[in-house]
Assembly symmetry: C2
Amino acid sequence: MSSAFPPALTRLIKNLGRLPGVGEKTATRMALQILRWPAPQARELAGSIGELHEKIRLCSRCFTFSQEDPCPICSDSRRDSSIICVVEDPGDLLAIEKAGAFRGRYHVLHGVLSPMDGIGPEQLRISPLLERIGREGVEEVVLATSSTVAGEATATYLSDLLQDRGVRTSRIACGIPMGMDLKYADKMTLQRALAARVSCS
Amino acid sequence: MSSAFPPALTRLIKNLGRLPGVGEKTATRMALQILRWPAPQARELAGSIGELHEKIRLCSRCFTFSQEDPCPICSDSRRDSSIICVVEDPGDLLAIEKAGAFRGRYHVLHGVLSPMDGIGPEQLRISPLLERIGREGVEEVVLATSSTVAGEATATYLSDLLQDRGVRTSRIACGIPMGMDLKYADKMTLQRALAARVSCS
């Protein structure tokens, strides 16, 4: 970092550079932009970052980020408690909620199995999932981990684990995304989409 | 924004979305990442944003962002005070400083002429530039505004303005960027590069 910038700006650029996908150039652009904002707007951003860790906890049932415990979804009696959707992280939960296609409850693993990184079943929220299944009268578990290698492996592991626990397990469908031109789909996706073809009648 | 996220997270996502080049998806990814950071790291980012407007002012000579007044460049007696490089904003000053190719002083306009947006000479730091030229014994003014339409217009305006003030004016060279394949250069750049060709002897 050049000394042509004042220390307070250099410090901010360094901190912004820790955000995902933000390099030094982007961080510089952001910092200069924040400096051009009215001071209250900058204070508002600072305040919202500062209060984040204080206000947000993990829901003790589904482990999503929440300000209340249990979270609004877990405490909503209109949600179907017989079906649990297992996701990798709270961002995935949000994506499904936005789609509005699921009315059950969730369970957030906070990661996927990745032995190379030292992440085994103990590092994920798997035992609380098994407890919930026994306690909450769950009938179906939807495995909605990503269709990456690690996500697939995690889904397979959970599916095996749940097999003799008296619950149905299912996996979200893999196929061609809506609106995608077929010629741009990768080979694996095409193979899956063909194998999982659905009768039109 | 979906109600599936706690209000503190939603608030942060909204605030991050005001940064340049950050849409809702990127803001969500950033916010979730900040939540995964250790709390002190998040507080450090919040603190550096919070202190920014308090600590940083404009240098009263060159108008760059600075914690001291005059700024370190204006108060550095080793810098050549006979030559002033005029730039649009402090980010451009930083880029030139990083290149290490200029040992004079700077003057930051804080924008370019843009009549459509209501930005005329009075909105830019042009009168203080004229005062400095008289007061500081300036011999040359390098016009280093961008080679955009507005940047070129501003350079032309300043060049005309300075013509009968006893200073030399120059414009940074326009041409093919280093390392660029000629076939990807745009027409205007090629025309300029050819017109401004330099003898090899």
